[in-house]
């Protein structure tokens, strides 16, 4: 399904929610809440794997980091992978993994297939 800045799809066979952001945007809390609520709904509120593909430049805001740090965000997420294409978001991902420290296993990738293989192995 489409949303304002990209697409959200649930691949039932792999129990995988795929989020693609393809229009530049700041990452604000309302947007992130919408994305995760949609994934939860598509997965029938059951645990699922999550891959987020950033194809456009995004700017994490302070509230986005607080949102990423909250346990509630990943309550249904088994593992999550980020596919990153820009320098700023790669540094933001470093910060997220090293300083905020995610509540579920997570990793950043350059390549989407590698990300999916890691998630589903």
């Amino acid at each position: 399904m489409d949303f304002e800045f990209g697409t959200i799809d649930y691949i039932k066979d792999n129990n995988l929610c795929r989020v693609e952001i393809n229009i530049p945007t700041p990452l604000f809390e309302q947007l992130l809440t919408y994305i995760y609520q949609t994934c939860n709904t598509l997965a029938n509120n059951k645990p699922y794997y999550l891959v987020t593909v950033f194809k456009a430049e995004v700017q994490p805001t302070k509230e986005a980091y607080a949102f990423f740090a909250s346990k509630n965000r990943t309550v249904n997420v088994i593992k999550e992978a980020f596919v990153l294409n820009s320098s700023s978001i790669k540094l933001a991902a470093n910060f997220y993994f090293r300083v905020i420290k995610p509540h579920v296993p997570g990793k950043a990738f350059d390549d989407e297939n590698e990300a999916k293989n890691w998630l589903l192995k």
Binding site: T61, Y65, K90, L91, A92, N94, F95, R98, V99
Partner: protein
């Protein structure tokens, strides 16, 4: 985010003096250590810091005369057993896109600050706003 030790590596003594002052205001509990010579820092990291068991932040200049900041990181990556345990902010007067992009090669670089260092820039980076 509190670091037990903040290490400054910069070939310019004036910049070090100024940055120590700024960091002393920002993080009075941290021990602030500085190096004008990258090789001395590398040696101390390998012999002291990597096994100190403390949370360490490195503020590293990119453009230095004998060794660039990225060369320092490449050397540490190759020689240190615990290179990944240190968080790094690249601190530079360079606004070259290529310098910024190089920072993404190292997974422990958590930020990139253009000089001069200010309390606001540091807090923005360490609070996760890029």
């Amino acid at each position: 985010m509190d670091y037990a030790i903040i290490v400054l590596v910069d070939d310019n003594p004036t910049t070090i003096f100024y940055n120590k002052d700024v960091l002393g205001d920002i993080s009075p509990e941290s021990e602030i250590v500085s190096y004008e010579d990258a090789d001395t820092f590398i040696n101390d990291y390998l012999t002291k810091y990597q096994n100190a068991g403390k949370r360490i932040l490195l503020l590293l200049d990119i453009n230095m005369p004998h060794k660039t900041g990225y060369e320092v990181l490449e050397e540490l990556e190759e020689e240190a057993e615990k290179f990944d345990s240190i968080d790094i902010i690249m601190l530079t007067s360079s606004n070259l896109k290529s310098d910024y992009e190089k920072a993404t090669r190292f997974s422990n670089i958590i930020g990139y600050i253009e000089k001069p260092l200010t309390i606001e820039k540091y807090n923005q980076t360490i609070n996760g706003i890029f």
